[in-house]
Symmetry: C2
Subunit: 463 residues, 2 copies
């Protein structure tokens, strides 16, 4: 095999890293196929006019990551798992170097993605630079354990206006992602606590509860939200719910069910964790106030995130604690200190204060509403009565019941053959998983690709 890469000696990136990236990309793109013998170190070094050490380092790196393998007395061979490049993206772990543009023909309906075109980078950059100029001195110190006070004030203010959440800034605790905050909650309550959990529900949260030795009790969800019958039967100490947009079913918890749940919590001295993971993206109708806003008895822990309303990689989430948990909350939080970088907090403060955040949300809400309409329309046109859509009124994903001759696994595999990634619904279920339902997130897909993707799904399933 002849390898004729161009390595640029004038870049800051070391040669071995450049070579590593190029070889990996060539495997990814299928130019170096599995089983192919790579040139010897000596030969490749000579071909590229670089040292053998550089080649050796590159090969070792690739071997360490499982892309190539050395066979005794034969040399190096490409030996990667072909599904790895796909798999790594499904698991949200892009293994590519930043800067290397991947050849991306996939239409990926992953629900963790956001629109990848419209983030106002220039406003963000301005906030970043201006916060550094104004508050740079602040960065020399460890930040406030709960998060910068002014950011917590902005969050409290915004939550009141947009979600009816009533809280003081000292009830707000920032954290680098919801899982970290859930971890802290688990440590506040201690282990062997029982927790009622929506079934179906969000597996990552369940995993956090389970690793903290909580007793997770799956409780069914009906058209109004989590079932009170199940709650009353199990009488858990905690209940974890997603009332704004049930994950994954997409239902909105009715006001009646909210009141029943709150009444039960007050009577039992239980706490409710309200995970409002995409509450910003409601498209129509009057918003129903958050459980936290309706609560009169200090029973609700409200959780929110900037992952959907900003960027998932920014890692800024927050929770609002009931007053009775403040002291314990501070104690546990101070173990970890504040996990969100202070500069990110200051930037966000500036971004919100300048009105950029609200502007961005408003823009994205329109954009996502339009994407959703296109998705629903395309499904209607292409598949009509052969599919049933669930949870299409709000949020950034739907569930699709597919009436074809294929099961869940086949639906996904046939879609993959067409270059479309969709996701199974069954992992969200503790009991009685559906067998022909798939999970479709549309936020990260362009309008054109939504239409094309649905056409391809039709070809995959109904031809």
């Amino acid at each position: 095999m002849d390898i004729t890469f161009f390595l640029n000696r004038h870049l800051d990136t070391p040669l071995y890293q450049q070579l590593y990236g190029l070889l990996k990309k060539n495997m990814q793109d299928g130019h170096i196929q599995k089983g192919v013998k790579l040139p010897s170190k000596r030969l490749l070094a000579a071909q590229l006019s670089i040292s053998q050490t550089t080649v050796e380092r590159t090969y070792e790196q690739l071997a360490a990551e499982g892309y190539i393998v050395s066979k005794p007395r034969s040399g190096w061979f490409a030996d990667y798992d072909e599904t790895e490049f796909i798999h790594s993206e499904m698991a949200n772990t892009p293994s590519s170097k930043p800067g290397t543009k991947e050849k991306e023909n996939w239409i990926d309906f992953h629900y963790g993605n956001v629109d990848s075109v419209h983030f106002p980078f220039s406003a963000w950059r301005k906030s970043m630079v201006s916060s550094l100029d104004q508050y740079g001195q602040q960065l020399y110190r460890p930040g406030h354990i709960l998060g910068e006070l002014e950011l917590r004030m902005l969050i409290a203010e915004n939550l009141y206006q947009s979600r009816g959440v009533r809280c003081r800034p000292e009830q707000v605790i920032l954290g680098a992602g919801n899982p970290i905050l859930l971890q802290m909650l688990c440590q506040m309550f201690g282990r062997d606590i029982s927790i009622g959990y929506e079934d179906p529900g969000f597996p990552r949260s369940r995993d956090i509860f389970e690793i903290n030795s909580m007793k997770v009790l799956p409780i069914p969800v009906d058209g109004e939200g989590i079932c009170m019958e199940g709650i009353r039967k199990e009488n858990p100490f905690l209940v974890y719910v997603t009332p704004s947009h049930q994950f994954p079913l997409g239902t909105v918890m009715t006001i009646d069910r909210r009141r029943q749940l709150l009444k039960w919590a007050a009577e039992n001295q239980s706490f409710i964790i309200e995970d409002d993971y995409d509450g910003e993206y409601r498209y129509s109708g009057q918003p129903i106030p958050s459980l936290q806003g309706l609560d009169q008895h200090d029973r609700v822990i409200y959780m929110g995130t900037f992952s959907k309303s900003l960027l998932p990689s920014m890692r800024v989430s927050y929770m609002v604690l009931p007053l009775s948990l403040l002291e314990k909350g501070r104690e546990i939080t101070s173990l970890y200190k504040q996990t969100v970088s202070c500069h990110i907090q200051l930037t966000l403060m500036e971004f919100i204060t300048k009105g950029e955040w609200q502007k961005h949300i408003n823009r994205m809400r329109k954009l996502y509403q339009r994407k959703r309409e296109i998705l629903l329309e395309a499904l209607q046109i292409e598949m009509g009565e052969q599919v049933k859509i669930r949870g299409g009124d709000t949020g950034l994903h739907i569930l699709l019941d597919v009436n074809s001759r294929f099961n869940e696994k086949e639906l996904i595999e046939r879609a993959k053959e067409q270059g479309v990634k969709i996701y199974p619904a069954s992992p969200f279920y503790a009991k009685q998983p559906p067998t022909t339902t798939v999970f479709i997130g549309f936020a990260g897909v362009s309008e054109a690709d939504i239409k094309l993707g649905i056409k391809k799904l039709k070809a995959a399933w109904f031809n």
Copy 2:
């Protein structure tokens, strides 16, 4: 009381926030003393030509945070805890708004601080902007679970060169601070595991182990490092050590002790957590290789941080896992996703690649060496034989045994009366805490203030 603040209507900061900040600052600075009656809402609104609602909101905020109190039929009174403003700084929780410059007359020898003048903000800003321009698209996706590959490659490379750590990038896991990484380690090992712990040692790590139901076994430290006798007696499954610069004693673990510890770990199939929290700041002599670098049997978990070598508020730490723990490590890490904001990672990548990080470390090493010399010299001149210095050869803090008529608490209180903050050594000890030893961190204090601070300590203790 007449309040004649200037509120600026042209700022983005809402009026109530401006008023909040001004009132709080006036309490902090002692201009509004405890017990003083505040003007009524109506009066203050009239004085400042703002609405009563604005004043109300401000008062409620201050009341919520415990600075003022409303007495029925009498109005609002300043009612803050005078020690709060001091206390909040000691606990590293500056409660001030960014941008408001505090009147800071304290000389604060807190060990968590870093030099607060010499951070290369303009180079950092450049890296920040340039990484955004180059890799902005990367931010749309959730980042790599372990941290961006290229940053992990840079860390692996740097650790090899500077600390003799031998690892592949896939062994490196980033996290938003050491405590989060320790938390993940605890979850990797499960509860009821026994862990040998240096006594004295770092209390925060001990707290993390304890909250995870590990069995913490204090093991004495002698002049060479953790005592093998204690290790052999307890035979723990894990050992947590700070070999480069024992915390808090400041001793460097000898090469002999390192070999003994590694041999023991290999024989017992135990793991060693090597916390190299300020390994960059060694001033003289040949560096002793890290335990990880000496280890032949895959027994060492190496931990490092950018808190000391960059800024504590940046929240970037990392650990290097042994190969046998990689799979479990990935599994636990994926629960939390990556906690370091992707943009901070990209900025750091750029900052390291451009050589700015190394330049900064070299500059800081010289600066800290000079601060340390000034500290030791001032102690010698001012206190001579009346004090004994421990751990002054490396790192950013010392322990000071004070031969005066005062105990630890009195030493600290008398220092505080002189406007100098020093810290107790006893909390680091599980058994036999010293009674007349204080903890002095010098990184965050200017050269002039080090000299002045030691003069003041002399006045506090020996006059």
